[in-house]
């Protein structure tokens, strides 16, 4: 980072659709994927005489988010009209918040599991509640230049979250988005699905270049059309290089050039300049006279704070502190969502060994969830059942080598640990039996005994395989130890 002659300055603007059943000002459904213009009514169509009525749940979700982001919340809130003409904006204005947003001056801590940058807080400038516009699709097929307007999305509740330009690298930008998405999912505020458009990102980026005469700022560029966090990272990387090259060629600084808008082209992996707007729009913001101001009192704030629940950062810390998980494992679990963390906690309590529980959940449970594309709430092995299994392994009742077999059986047949153990014919094998087994094996394999005596200790591996065939319950490590011991004894 310090090898490049410039500092990258990034601010992110994120729009999230709130997880409500209905729109911000009317009762139309917000469900994704319906045929065009089937989720509309006079209110979201902006028909003459229609009036907005605030969705209480959307308001509460927005408030929760503001509090979770450690923001200041104003006690009296209003909504403003942002006036402009566009076909996907049926009223000719968007109901938004201008100078008194729902939340201000907060922060979100970011960190990198790969330690490429130290953990630090990114300041949140503001978050406000507004309605979404519809979708316009430009149909330029077959010489047509029609635009098609779908107003299903018009009126959907959005929270616009704007960071200060505190991010200093593409990796930080990605980490910010990852952490924000996780937080919003934990709060139940949004499902943050970029494919379905419930999370959209625009970035503002420029460089501070170190020159012999001091620091020079390049013109700020707004980058749009990034459809994944990975795309954001790549776009920022590309744009930083592009801006540096451009500055070297033109020397233009931020004071000398207006803010530019560029779109990310994911195929070509470049940003492309978009048509400059004629003049910067004057939205003529004024308070919407159709909406009454909302008073937020202490009681409401306290109640909402109480509903936040345990957030990812706190949860990560608790898992490390109280369950002795390492940072990486804590991160893996928390990133999977609260349900999975709860699953882990239950398993850990049930078997009394957080570390073992952590390993099993991270590896075996997550692997299956991924393979089967399922969420933890559909996972066939309950937390108590897995806890039971792990407890038995811990007590030595089930040889750890057979543990996975039992688990697989529980998974495939829905059996309890006891049933699975019985079905597999697993029994604890005592040392006497292992000794007897090893003596048999050694007698049957003089060549291997010779090899081991000769120094090729690895040769004993073949015996372990044979032991497993004769008695699958024998613990391979124990077999190895006893075989070597017997060979040792015999040779001395």
């Amino acid at each position: 980072m310090s090898t490049q002659p410039y500092e990258i300055i990034i601010g992110l603007e994120v729009h999230v659709q709130l997880l409500t059943k209905t729109k911000l000002f009317c009762r139309c459904s917000t469900a994704f994927g319906a045929p065009p213009n089937t989720q509309t009514c006079p209110v979201c169509l902006g028909m003459p005489g229609a009036l907005p009525v605030m969705n209480r749940r959307a308001f509460r979700l927005a408030l929760k988010t503001g509090l979770a982001l450690e923001c200041d919340i104003p006690r009296r809130m209003k909504w403003d009209r942002k006036n402009y003409f566009y076909p996907d904006l049926p009223k000719g204005y968007q109901i938004s918040q201008f100078d008194l947003p729902l939340a201000r001056h907060g922060r979100l801590w970011i960190y990198d599991p790969q330690d490429r940058f130290p953990p630090r807080p990114i300041r949140i400038l503001r978050a406000h509640l507004e309605e979404d516009a519809g979708k316009s699709m430009h149909d330029e097929a077959a010489g047509q230049q029609d635009s098609r307007i779908d107003l299903n999305r018009a009126g959907t509740p959005l929270l616009e979250i704007v960071s200060q330009p505190d991010l200093r690298s593409p990796q930080e930008a990605k980490a910010y988005l990852t952490e924000l998405k996780l937080l919003l999912q934990y709060l139940g505020v949004s499902d943050c699905n970029m494919q379905e458009g419930s999370l959209r990102v625009d970035a503002n980026i420029n460089l501070h270049i170190t020159t012999s005469s001091g620091s020079v700022a390049t013109p700020i560029v707004e980058v749009k059309n990034m459809n994944s966090f990975r795309a954001v990272e790549r776009a920022m990387e590309y744009e930083a290089q592009r801006q540096y090259a451009e500055w070297q060629a033109t020397g233009l600084t931020r004071e000398q050039a207006p803010k530019q808008t560029r779109g990310w082209d994911d195929q070509a992996e470049v940003t492309v300049a978009q048509r400059q707007k004629e003049e910067s729009s004057d939205y003529r913001y004024f308070p919407d006279p159709d909406l009454a101001p909302v008073i937020v009192d202490d009681a409401l704030l306290e109640q909402t704070r109480a509903e936040l629940g345990e957030l990812p950062a706190a949860l990560r810390e608790r898992l490390q502190r109280d369950y002795q998980l390492d940072a990486y494992s804590a991160d893996v679990l928390v990133n999977q969502g609260r349900s999975l963390v709860d699953y882990f906690l239950e398993v850990a309590e049930a078997c009394g060994d957080a570390k073992r529980a952590g390993n099993w959940v991270q590896q075996d449970v997550l692997r299956v969830l991924k393979e089967r594309q399922m969420a933890i709430d559909r996972f066939p092995v309950s937390a108590s059942a897995l806890g039971d299994l792990l407890q038995r392994i811990g007590r030595g009742e089930i040889p750890s080598a057979r543990g996975k077999d039992v688990f697989q059986r529980m998974l495939d047949h829905g059996e309890s640990p006891s049933q699975a153990v019985d079905a597999l014919g697993i029994e604890a094998v005592d040392e006497e039996a292992v000794y007897a087994l090893c003596r048999e094996l050694l007698d049957a394999n003089p060549r291997i005994v010779e090899d081991v005596r000769g120094g090729k200790t690895q040769a004993v591996g073949a015996l372990i395989g044979q032991a497993k065939k004769r008695n699958p319950n024998a613990d391979p490590a124990t077999v190895k130890r006893i075989c070597l011991e017997l060979i040792q004894r015999a040779s001395s």
């Binding site: 028909m47 003459p48 009036l51 605030m54 006036n83 307007i149 107003l151 006279p289 009454a292």
Partner: protein, 507 residues
């Protein structure tokens, strides 16, 4: 003359309830009257003969079966064409909505249906409620029944004329700066603007959201009370609607006026007001005094800024409310083939510098063709007053003045129960007289804008005629939600005067 046309809504209701009269007879009578007189007056934009007769039949059938009926059962009500009636052309007096059929009813209309009123038709109005003479209707002006060369007032000109001409017993208008009261005054009928929030605005096509209110017009206070009770009330679909129960206005009107404190702004009866108007109002004050009211002089010091503040705030809100009329989703759209060839021709001449898009041209042509002059004037004014660099000086300033005007009234109401004065400075002027001087027309709103800016209920009551036989109205204001007090004042006044019973001579 047919007695049905002479009787009040309250009396007609009583007769129908007594079985003396059927809803069909009543509706038929008024429909005939409309068809006979409206070719000349043009108070209506739409008359729904079929729907009204069918509704009247249903009321009679249900009454015959002994079913309980709504409070207005069988009474024809005319609705200003700014309120949405499902499936029925609702034009707002504009070319922009000339063919628009709303897919829903305004809440007020729903309430009228629930009251079993007969929705007889939609009345003519100034375009998008902008105007004080009904000359801004895109279709045709309305004529004052008292003198057909004169304006009925506006913007609810059709509503007021229809009562004066006995075309209907009850009418609904809307009032943003005086649009119920001023035409009521010019037409010699009673018109009431409720407290802001008393009547739902859902389905009332917005002109200025913080000022608009729908309200009743009728021949007397009792009829106005009847209609107000039916339409008032909280509406969950309107965030600005007041969650207060509706008072039983009709039963509050019989209390005598003894002890009522009436405040008068002396300057409102001085220069700027015609002699006929001020003497009629002075005479009315004498009547009230004789009924036991106490008169006090009050001052509303910021009242003189009312017109200026109103003509900033209302256009600002209108410029935003009317942005939706863009030819995209509903309503009028310019003729696209013509537009595209016009654009192509310009592009050819101008060459590379030509940057206007088809979308922009669509917006411009649609709004140029769809809106009338006064609407355009106000949209431009409002856009300007909200624009960057000017908003503080105009819009914000006007809001501050508004608060001062409200404070004036609050202080006055600590000393008086009613504020009384003329509704308008003059009687009805001639058609065409003020069209070339919009500012002079605006000044006619001098006494009425205060109630809208302050959100207060206000009523216009007929109180005399000038020497040309033109009606004069007096206006009373009360504190918020005291419509009952206004109606009581009007009713008691009407018990010992007969101005409200006079009717224009019509062919």
């Amino acid at each position: 003359m047919n007695t049905i046309l002479q009787q009040s809504a309250a009396d007609l209701l009583a007769r129908m309830q007594a079985g003396d009269l059927s809803a069909v007879e009543v509706t038929r009578t008024f429909l005939d009257r409309i068809h006979r007189t409206d070719g000349d007056l043009q108070a209506f934009l739409l008359v729904d003969d079929e729907g009204a007769m069918a509704a009247a039949e249903r009321v009679d059938e249900r009454r015959a079966r002994g079913e309980s009926l709504g409070a207005l059962a069988g009474l024809p009500v005319a609705i200003k064409d700014v309120l949405c009636v499902r499936g029925q052309r609702t034009t707002c007096g504009s070319r922009m909505l000339a063919a628009f059929r709303p897919p829903y009813d305004a809440t007020l209309v729903t309430k009228l249906r629930q009251a079993d009123a007969i929705l007889i038709g939609k009345t003519n109005m100034d375009e998008f409620a902008m105007g004080s003479s009904n000359e801004n209707s895109a279709f045709h002006p309305v004529r004052n029944p008292w003198d057909r060369e004169r304006v009925p007032g506006g913007s609810s000109g059709g509503a007021a004329a229809s009562i004066a001409a006995r075309q209907v017993p009850l009418s609904i208008g809307t009032d943003t700066g005086g649009s119920i009261r001023q035409p009521a005054s010019f037409c010699g009928v009673v018109g009431l603007k409720p407290t802001y929030g008393r009547v739902s605005r859902y389905g009332l096509v917005a002109f200025a959201s913080s000022l608009d209110q729908a309200g009743p017009l009728a021949r007397d206070a009792r009829d106005v009370a009847l209609l107000l009770e039916a339409i008032a009330g909280h509406d969950p679909l309107d965030s600005t609607s007041a969650p207060r129960p509706v008072s039983p206005y009709a039963s509050q009107m019989d209390e005598p006026l003894k002890g009522l404190r009436v405040g008068v702004v002396r300057s409102h009866l001085a220069e700027g007001v015609s002699a006929a108007v001020s003497s009629a109002v002075e005479a009315a004050l004498d009547v009230l005094r004789s009924q036991g009211a106490t008169l006090l002089d009050i001052d509303l010091p910021h009242g003189r800024y009312g017109v200026a503040a109103y003509y900033v705030i209302a256009p600002c809100e209108a410029s935003s409310n009317l942005a939706r009329y863009d030819g995209i989703h509903f309503g009028f759209r310019t003729h696209e083939p013509d537009m595209l060839s016009e654009l192509a021709a310009e592009r050819r001449t101008a060459g590379a510098e030509f940057t206007e898009s088809a979308l922009m041209r669509l917006y411009c042509r649609t709004r140029t063709e769809g809106f009338g002059l006064e609407v355009k004037r106000r949209i431009m004014l409002g856009t300007f007053a909200l624009s960057a660099g000017y908003q503080g000086r105009y819009y914000q300033k006007a809001l501050q003045v508004r608060r001062l005007i409200r404070q004036d009234y609050d202080q006055a109401f600590e000393r008086v129960d009613i504020v009384l004065g003329p509704t308008t400075p003059t009687t009805a002027y001639r058609l065409g007289e003020k069209l070339s001087d919009p500012l002079s027309m605006y000044m006619g709103d001098l006494f009425t804008v205060g109630a809208n800016l302050a959100g207060l209920p206000a009523i216009s009551i007929p109180c005399g005629f000038d020497d040309q036989g033109l009606p004069i109205g007096m206006q009373a204001l009360a504190p918020p939600f005291e419509e009952g007090r206004l109606l009581r004042l009007a009713h008691q006044y009407q018990r010992c005067t007969d101005w409200h019973t006079r009717r224009p001579k019509l062919p």
